[in-house]
């Protein structure tokens, strides 16, 4: 039997979570946990190290890798530098081979595997490919694997067919220190709970082009049998004493019959649950009164609804297959049934005009009016490697696409892909960034402001004044001369919340310097 060390690398700028009262711990690293569970089930020795949460991750990885056959990394574009640094350590100090999987290698397997620090890259779901690698199969025969030949050429094997996810054991949380992740805020009820994720399905049948599924080909929707899901949730309650669960999957609500079976099954457990639901599912025969009632009875606290844009032109462009009216309807249904929806928006798509952006702000204002208890979020669009939108963004911005894995670690790409410091594929970049700030502030509803004021009167009041100004701007659609935005940055600095500045508002030069320091050590 083989041994593998599975690593969840940290993100850029290198981020290690330190327990505090203000922020929840990071999510359980579900990717490596799913793979680790399957490999353990097959009798292999698995060690999971989460570099997002463990300060001494590098030492632990080297120690565990000494007698391991492979060290696997679950890599996103934002964790390339961390993965490179750790892979270098593994190569220098041990004999273990490095395997990279995850979203970035899935989108660019050839480029990833070409790097000297990467022995193998897995594209698509890696459960069986890594199992075969660990069992000593010939790499040339392992589907969904990219490998190097003796003369250094990279060969990308074809993608394997999807396998029955009922074959995989339920997530084995004993592979991680679950207590480090379990205490989280149930934002809908503003209280701390013990919450773990459940993954009862994989894939999503919808075709939204901004989502990574459409660029990785992982759309086919596969489900675990309802009885299994119910048993798994019961086990989480019994073994880990959870009082809430999160359906942490791409789309829980696709098959109504299955959703009903699962919810009927967990009704008596007295748990709270959260998930995600598309706005167009709110209709007769899908998420209707009957299902909403059952959701309430089974402990649903709220769920995320992706609105994305208020412009039908943009929604058609990204193939969302939802219209703004459906979002309004979904949100009002949530309010009627006393659920707290978390509505998310995206700005900064290519070809998005000022008119389109204003339509998004208008939709945002409408949904806040319809459901004053909602939690909102607004993000800036960043293209996933591969897919039409990615090609379009690089074509419009005339930026050269990164030609190697190392090029992705250049400050200009990381800054663009992670911090969205600029939107070069849209000529209204600066204006959109202003709208992003003001619309984001608009989403702080009175309910939330009251909570902040109660927590810290002075800071809460100060913050509320910036929110009021943002509301005024959204009301009159005026987003130029962002003096108050700049003042807010200064206020954040004075109040010592520089971590927010680093992530969202910090100077580009400063971030570039940070990346360069990271790279120098890699």
């Amino acid at each position: 039997m083989g041994k593998i060390v599975l690593v969840n690398p940290s993100f850029e700028p290198i981020y290690i979570y330190k327990p505090n009262d203000m922020t929840d711990p990071p999510n359980v690293p579900r990717g490596v946990l799913a793979i680790g569970t399957y490999l353990k089930q097959k009798g292999h020795t698995v060690k999971i190290i989460d570099a997002v949460i463990e300060e001494d991750a590098a030492e632990k990885i080297v120690k565990e890798a000494e007698d391991a056959d492979f060290v696997g990394f679950a890599v996103m574009t934002s964790s390339i530098i961390s993965s490179l640094k750790l892979s270098k350590l593994v190569k220098e100090k041990t004999k273990a081979k490095t395997v990279w999987g995850g979203i970035h290698p899935t989108q660019l397997p050839e480029q990833t595997c070409a790097d000297p620090l990467v022995d193998y890259a897995v594209h698509g779901e890696g459960d069986e490919a890594i199992l075969e690698l660990l069992e000593g199969h010939d790499p040339a025969e392992i589907k969904s694997l990219a490998y190097k030949t003796a003369d250094g050429r990279v060969i990308v094997n074809p993608r394997r067919k999807f396998f029955d996810i009922n074959k995989i054991a339920t997530l084995d949380f004993d592979l991680v220190d679950v207590e480090k992740y379990i205490t989280r805020t149930l934002v809908q009820e503003r209280r701390k709970v013990r919450m773990l994720p459940v993954m009862s399905s994989r894939g999503c049948p919808h075709r939204c082009t901004f989502c990574f599924h459409t660029t990785t080909g992982d759309q086919p929707y596969r489900t675990q049998e309802s009885e299994r899901v119910i048993a798994e949730i019961g086990r989480l309650k019994e073994c880990y004493n959870v009082d809430a669960i999160k359906f942490a999957e791409d789309n829980f609500f696709v098959i109504r019959r299955r959703v009903k079976e699962v919810l009927e099954g967990i009704k008596g457990l007295g748990l709270k649950w959260v998930g995600e639901c598309r706005a167009d599912y709110f209709r007769n025969g899908h998420v209707d009164d009957e299902l909403l009632q059952l959701m309430k009875e089974s402990g649903c606290a709220g769920f995320t609804v992706g609105a994305e844009s208020g412009s039908e032109k943009i929604l058609n462009m990204v193939k969302k297959d939802v219209i703004p009216k459906q979002v309004e309807y979904a949100v009002s249904r949530c309010y009627e049934h006393n659920f707290v929806p978390a509505v998310t928006f995206i700005l900064g798509f290519p070809h998005e005009t000022k008119r389109d952006v204003k339509k998004t702000v208008s939709l945002l204002r409408k949904v806040v009016k319809k459901c004053p208890i909602l939690i909102g979020g607004i993000g800036l669009f960043r293209p996933n490697p591969g897919g039409d939108l990615y090609e379009e963004c690089f074509k419009i911005s005339k930026i050269k696409k990164p030609a190697s894995l190392r090029e992705w670690t250049k400050p200009e790409y990381l800054d663009l892909m992670i911090n969205a410091s600029d939107i070069p594929w849209n000529k209204h970049s600066r204006w959109i960034k202003n709208v992003h700030y003001y619309a984001g502030m608009y989403l702080f509803t009175n309910r939330r402001l009251g909570m902040y004021i109660k927590r810290n009167f002075i800071k809460g009041l100060g913050f509320s004044s910036f929110v009021m100004l943002a509301r005024l701007r959204c009301l009159v659609n005026f987003y130029h001369l962002p003096v108050d935005r700049k003042l807010f940055n200064i206020a954040l600095r004075v109040a010592g919340h520089t971590h927010i500045l680093n992530w969202s508002f910090g100077s580009r030069k400063k971030r570039a310097r940070q990346y360069e320091q990271q790279l120098a050590t890699a």
């Binding site: 049948p205 929707y221 109504r256 007769n284 899908h286 193939k319 297959d321």
Partner: protein
């Protein structure tokens, strides 16, 4: 034995392919290479097959429910599964 009429409105179909990606293992739907819409691959008593509409009668209840699942995620409501005994559309 109960019978179910599966109706595909090909005029309404926009080729989003969500139906084919739900219960993909059953291969109920396939992409029409010519017009980018979907084709119904179920075997049964064929009632109608025109460029606008395809109607097939099936007797397998489990399969009828699965087809209804695929119809529920269609963004343009192009799929119906009618229970011929009750007249009820299983998609709605």
């Amino acid at each position: 034995m109960a019978k179910y009429k599966v109706v595909l409105d090909r005029k309404a179909c926009i080729g989003a392919f969500t139906c084919a990606l739900t219960h993909p293992e059953e291969k109920i739907w396939e992409m029409d290479e010519v017009n980018g819409k979907v084709n119904l691959t179920l075997t049964g008593e064929e009632l109608k097959k025109t460029p606008e509409q395809h109607e097939v009668i099936i007797e397998d209840k489990k399969m009828a429910l699965k087809v209804a699942d695929t119809g529920q995620v269609c963004p343009v409501f192009a799929i119906k599964v009618i229970d011929l005994e009750t007249g009820k559309d299983l998609v709605r």
